[in-house]
């Protein structure tokens, strides 16, 4: 039996390893940042910067005509310009790198709560070396900051759900709502997920015989806080656009996702560059490429001046198109999910586009193998680990709901970036598999792990032509295509 002194040493030892992993992750990300700058702006990065400049110059949050984006990320960039002027983007990237500490910390915390110290430490090590996730810390997408809020939010929610009678439950739930609510102002995709993830706690409380009114009291408080956090910006939108909304991107995503041809945003910029060089473009398998019915794409409702009304009309047109072509809709979803889980990433996309300086591209083949390997192994081993090792209970419910939610949003418009909120969970699954193996496990769990991994491999086979093309272009340059 361990003495209290031994316990103290064990805790201190774990704490030191925990801190060491965070420090190593931070150093790797800063090294990557140092090698990556001056990485060229790409697509939405430029759009975010443009919105930040508009905020600085006019004091106004402009919309993007096709999107009404949440305000926090342009606001963050504007603050960086205020503090560092020409070096504003470097400051933003540096702060993002620092924020990733919260991702590493929360990943290990969740793993420790669900499994043990070993799984926590291994999940931390995997977090260090997950190159696509690390790369987002120097790219100007809101993902890093969002995950830095969402990870701790999830850790608090899981703690509250696993210990529903703990005195800190109320504070944990309020912390969850606070962090997740701020996160919605960075990425509105989590808007509906945040209340949804409270359901496993409701289920736990119900099972232990808590009265309905008490459950209502417990659940409604974080929901009210969430509403309070979202209200100021929603009211601003009501005043400006006549619509009480946090953000509005669905209409444009429906245009891209429920239309006559397939669009994958990992591919589009690469194909645009290939077209400019008069080279053949990368294409998905023929049956999944377009509706094959000689249909013209339906057009956006450009004639509608008001933004939310225009996006609503786009949504209506997309749904009408889907009702008329259910077969194409189903075929299209197969390719979308395949795009979502393809072992490519924005880092490999940027390498293919030549956006990184030579300080980084001199190791491009190694980086592509590292990034693609990290993505593929995390997806495969993470899925097997979660299917086989995740303890039944509210945490499993939270993981399943989050997985299902991002699978559903990813089936509308897919690209590798949209699976990022699932990566910390997959890292935990991966670590549990590495530390605990597959035995002894009940047969249904093994079947679940086998089925999910087979489905993943099938999806990789479906997406292989474009995945291979993207990875080749990333490691050798666009000239290898053709």
């Amino acid at each position: 039996m361990k003495s209290p002194k031994d316990d103290k040493h064990t805790v201190q030892g774990f704490g030191r390893k925990f801190a060491g992993i965070l420090a190593a992750g931070l150093i790797l990300r800063f090294v990557l940042l140092g090698l990556a700058v001056p990485v060229e702006l790409q697509s939405d990065e430029a759009n975010y910067v443009y919105l930040a400049l508009g905020l600085e110059r006019f004091g106004l949050f402009f919309d993007c005509y096709r999107f009404l984006w949440p305000p926090l990320y342009p606001g963050f960039l504007r603050l960086c310009f205020l503090l560092a002027d020409e070096q504003g983007l470097l400051l933003a990237r540096g702060l993002q790198v620092l924020s990733t500490l919260a991702i590493g910390w929360s990943t290990m915390s969740i793993a420790r709560r669900l499994f043990n110290d070993s799984v926590a430490l291994v999940s931390g090590l995997l977090w260090i070396v997950h190159l696509p996730l690390a790369a987002f810390s120097h790219l100007l997408w809101s993902e890093s900051l969002f995950l830095a809020l969402w990870g701790p939010a999830l850790a608090l929610l899981i703690a509250a759900s696993l210990e529903p009678n703990h005195p800190a439950r109320g504070r944990r739930l309020l912390g969850y709502a606070l962090l997740a609510g701020i996160g919605v102002h960075l990425k509105e995709s989590s808007l509906y997920l945040t209340p949804l993830l409270l359901l496993p706690l409701v289920w736990t409380l119900r099972r232990q015989g808590t009265r309905t009114l008490e459950i209502l009291r417990i659940i409604s408080q974080p929901l009210l806080l969430l509403a309070l956090i979202l209200l100021p910006w929603s009211l601003r939108n009501l005043e400006t656009y006549g619509r009480l909304t946090v953000a509005s991107t669905l209409g444009e995503n429906v245009y891209n996702g429920l239309n006559s041809s397939h669009r994958n945003f990992d591919l589009i910029p690469v194909n645009t560059a290939l077209q400019r060089n008069n080279q053949p473009i990368l294409q998905v398998r023929a049956p999944l490429r377009s509706s094959n019915e000689n249909l013209s794409p339906w057009a956006r409702a450009e004639e509608v001046l008001n933004l939310p009304e225009r996006l609503d009309e786009n949504r209506r047109r997309g749904l009408a198109f889907t009702r008329d072509h259910p077969g194409w809709f189903l075929r299209g979803r197969l390719q979308k999910i395949s795009d979502l889980v393809a072992p490519v990433s924005f880092m490999t996309r940027h390498l293919a586009l030549g956006h990184y300086p030579t300080s980084l591209t001199r190791w491009r083949t190694m980086l592509v193998i590292w990034a693609a390997g990290a993505s593929a192994l995390t997806l495969l081993l993470g899925l097997i680990g979660l299917a086989s090792r995740l303890p039944a209970g509210p945490a499993a419910g939270i993981f399943a709901l989050q997985g299902g939610y991002y699978l559903a949003t990813g089936s509308l418009v897919a690209m590798s970036r949209f699976r990022l909120p699932l990566v910390p969970l997959l890292l935990i699954g991966c670590a549990s598999l590495i530390c605990m193996g597959l035995r002894p496990l009940p047969r249904p769990r093994l079947m679940l792990a086998a089925c999910s991994s087979l489905i993943l491999v099938a999806l990789w086979i479906i997406g292989w032509p474009t995945t291979w093309g993207l990875l080749r272009a990333a490691s050798k340059g666009l000239e290898v295509i053709g």
């Binding site: 110059r57 402009f62 009265r211």
Partner: protein
Amino acid sequence: MGPAQSRLQGPGGYRVRAWRGHLVLLLLMAGLLALHLAGHRSDTQLRAELAHLLHPAEQSSRGPKASRDTLEALHILLNRPLGFSRAEGQQLSATLLAEDDPLLREFALSIDLCRLSRHTALNVPDTQEQHVLGRTPPPMDAPWWLEYVTYRRKVGGKQVGGRRRLDNLELLWYRRALRGESPPPEELSKRLLRAAREARVGPIPRGQ
């Protein structure tokens, strides 16, 4: 348990005190709603505030320099459902582009007015396109660069004036132009020529 506390108990001994947090949150939300209602301006009120810009011919003198309030009022009115028609938008664009205040001219090139502009055969906003790119050669000084970036680097496609996305060098020039420094003319000329060539022969770069 004191008498005051027992009065707070509902059926089955359920404490009302436990709902205090909810009440505080609801009160804060009500406060925000009240602030919103108090600050709400109707289309008519906004039009009255902006009369010097919307009806310049009827005003004895030009309006004061654009304040943040003026820009905010314009932004709201231009984005409201039924706030502004295309014809009014085009008129207002022309008025603002003729103003001495650079901020008002730049605002006329923003998404708010470009979306309301009349379009040429090239499907670009006519008034704004003429203002930014109609002069040969363009001034290529700091004020013009701020206008160019505001007009040409926006999101939303060519129908609102956007063409290419901003890049690092253009951003650097923009930061310097905010301090009054003009972009280097030779490099800018080359860049504009290349952009014009790409615009004619290539697809519009896009992606996400």
